[in-house]
Amino acid sequence: MKKLFLSLLVTILISTLSIAQNRTLPSVDVKTLDGGSINITALENNGQPIVISFWATWCKPCKKELNTIAEVYEDWQDETGVKLVAISIDNSRSMAKVAPYVNASDWDYEVYIDPNGDLKRAMGISTVPHTFLLNSKKEIVWQHKGYVDGDEDELLEQIKKLAH
């Protein structure tokens, strides 16, 4: 039975490799800061690249990443047309702090909340920060786990590869 299971698993993985060339966003709803909800597949940036960054108000490296990018975000937008979407995984313990934190930090990002981790699980995220880069067809072309100082430079290089 175990062998059967393993061989099935391997078959799946092999078939995955052959089909998962264009990875798209899963159809999952997230909350907007004004109490509504939006399906993540509805994200739009007129054919320009989109960065999706998962974060939380209690996550130091996440805030460091987003605050660092906030300092240069205008330049990035002018240069590449990129849009950054920050998805908070704060649950009901700290959800009320998301909008005040975002506003106080002067972020110009689109911000959504994924309070019970539905999108996080659908996108295979085990820890935050976790950053994805989407091309003009909203396919995931690059991803990165964690954040250390300087990682934003690599992200910008990847964005530039996509920008026309």
Binding site: S15, D34, C59, A99, P115, S126, E154
Partner: protein, 557 residues
């Protein structure tokens, strides 16, 4: 049975794969592995493992094709790490599901995670790294008949470790976004919600008449206007004697919980004021079980700290009764001002205060007299009800902290934190009252990072905790060197120099090396971990001290 279902799921993946030719769907997932060796260290009290190494791992696989999705999780505990409950044992596929959406109706069968409102009456969730998972197994339906109206209902059994509860959990929830539903163009947005959850468990107890169906319901309201946001939820749970069933211990009273938050924010400034009151509101998937069977979530009303010494004494909600309030202020001093400097300065303030419920009225059923009681009460009982507000109840937890972040120049960034915390060790760790009392601590932290050259950064953290009670004072130092985008190296030492027991004035040194590339992360470490208390989802567990090597691999595809 479980195995058969799993194979059927896998076969259906394959069938779908082979049938669909052009757009054959996508398979994604993630893998996590945590391995740790355990060597004996008599000084810190760490025990060796008979197995020498222990290993936890899991793999998630999700298959998606259009509006159809199915998936499973393989979990492996050979054997479980020491800070996990040893009921996690062996291998298995405890999580598998299939789901589709058509014309606004979403149907899920198998395992799912769900939350009603803020979770006061129901939350099933997972935090794999901490060993928490109370997934449901059953059926869930979600339906949106009109824009702005969201309905859901579910039925199932709740998971604890590798088993499912005896209780059957049923739930329904309706949320209406009035602006969307009625197409209102007003500036004020209003969202209302109503949830109901009920547990059925047969009463086979010969001695007590136990309610077989226990209901809990909650009503919530969210009003948003410009920078203002009010959010409130009130929940009630009907009579539900839980835990060890004894004549003295049984409490048939109803429970309730209220949480309320008001926030205001504009560019550069944000403030949040929150309160909650909890009274006998623990909801479990089985009557006579422990806290690992909790299926609701009363969010802890304190800041979730990440600096080690700020989180040394963590708070956790006392679901039998507490009254708490919290305030958070976020402020960014503008660039170019005297205090803001060239890059601006960020200030974060947080204060929380959690107490027991107090006083109350006692009903004498014989002559219908009402008398007042004094002192602290844990919760509602058949005989008395505590007061709504608690000003002088027993202190459970208090935290005042201030954080300042400043980018000094292109190379240097600094964070400073000062905090004062009071921690009721007896209550929060479930010890006999009067054993330890309240641990008062004062904490200071400096966190400085220096960019050496492009991609190379060194970061130093210095932390100090001064306390008389508990384990006394601690110091901590951390040095981290990172090379973006692939490498990090860290060494840290925690030193319990102020322990009243001189033989316990110990160093806990840890070294970590990590490599990251794209979707993969590998970390190896060696060191000693202190015994401590860790809280997750309202459940606190005492983790033993340990000594050894660790390996962590995390990957996502």
């Amino acid at each position: 049975m479980l195995k058969k279902i799993t194979y059927t799921f896998i076969l259906s993946f394959l069938t779908l794969n082979s049938f669909a030719q052009n757009n054959s769907g996508e398979i994604h997932g993630d893998f996590d592995l945590n391995m740790q060796s355990y060597q004996e260290d008599e000084i810190i009290g760490a025990k060796a493992a008979d197995e020498i190494i222990l290993n936890n791992a899991y793999l998630n696989i999700n298959y998606t094709k259009g509006d159809f999705t199915a998936g499973l999780r393989y979990e492996s505990y050979l054997n479980a790490l020491m800070d996990f409950d040893d009921s996690y044992k062996g291998n298995g596929i405890p999580f598998r599901y299939a789901s589709y959406t058509i014309d606004g109706l979403e149907v899920t069968v198998g395992n799912y995670y769900e939350q009603v409102g803020s979770g006061l009456i129901f939350r099933s969730y997972e935090n794999k790294g901490l060993g928490a998972d109370n997934a449901m197994d059953g059926i869930r339906l979600k339906y949106s008949p009109l824009k702005g109206i969201y309905l859901k209902s579910f039925i199932g059994k709740s998971r604890t470790y590798f088993t499912y509860s005896e209780g059957i959990i049923r739930g329904a929830d309706a949320e209406v976004n009035l602006n969307e539903a009625l197409n209102l163009k007003t500036k004020t947005r209003i969202i209302i919600g109503q949830g109901l959850v009920s547990r059925f468990q047969a009463d086979i107890n010969p001695k007590f008449k136990l309610p077989q169906n226990v209901a809990a319901y909650s009503t919530r309201l969210n009003i948003i206007n410009g920078g203002w946001n009010y959010s409130g939820e009130y929940a009630v749970k009907l009579n539900d004697p839980v835990g060890s069933l004894t004549t003295e211990g049984n409490n048939y009273a109803n429970g309730n919980a209220l949480m309320s938050s008001l926030s205001y924010s504009k560019r550069g400034f944000g403030i949040v004021a929150e309160m909650h009151r909890v009274d006998h509101m623990e909801f479990r998937s089985e009557r006579a079980q422990e806290k690992q069977y909790i299926i609701n979530y009363i969010p802890t009303l304190t800041k979730q700290h990440t600096y080690t010494l700020l989180a040394l004494y963590p708070s956790a909600t006392q679901t039998e009764g507490e009254f708490g309030n919290q305030i958070d202020i976020f402020y960014k001093i503008k660039k170019g001002s005297l205090l803001g400097g060239k890059y601006g300065t960020k200030i974060t303030f947080n204060h929380s205060n959690i107490r027991s419920l107090e006083k109350g009225v006692k009903y004498n059923t014989e002559n219908n007299e009402v008398g007042e009681l004094s002192g602290s009460f844990k919760n509602d009982n058949n005989d008395f009800t505590p007061q709504f507000f608690s000003k002088n109840g027993e202190l459970y937890f208090r935290d005042i902290n201030l954080e300042v972040y400043k980018k000094i120049n292109k190379k240097i960034r600094a964070t400073g934190v000062i905090a004062k915390q009071s921690y009721n060790k007896d209550v929060l760790e479930g010890k006999t009252p009067g054993t330890y009392g309240i641990v008062e601590s004062t904490i200071a932290i400096a966190d400085i990072s220096y960019k050496i050259k492009k991609g190379h950064t060194v970061r130093i953290e210095l932390q100090e905790l001064l306390a008389d009670g508990g384990e006394g004072s601690w110091s901590m130092g951390l040095a981290e060197y990172t090379i973006s985008p692939h490498w990090f190296f860290a060494v840290q030492d925690m030193y319990n120099w102020g322990n009243h027991d001189v033989s316990k004035q110990l160093h806990y040194v840890n070294i970590n090396l990590g490599y990251l590339k794209g979707a993969n992360r590998i970390e190896i470490g060696y060191g000693k971990k202190r015994a401590g208390i860790f809280c997750v989802g309202g459940v606190c567990k005492e983790v033993p001290s340990s000594n050894g090597f660790s390996l962590a691999i995390s990957s996502s595809f």
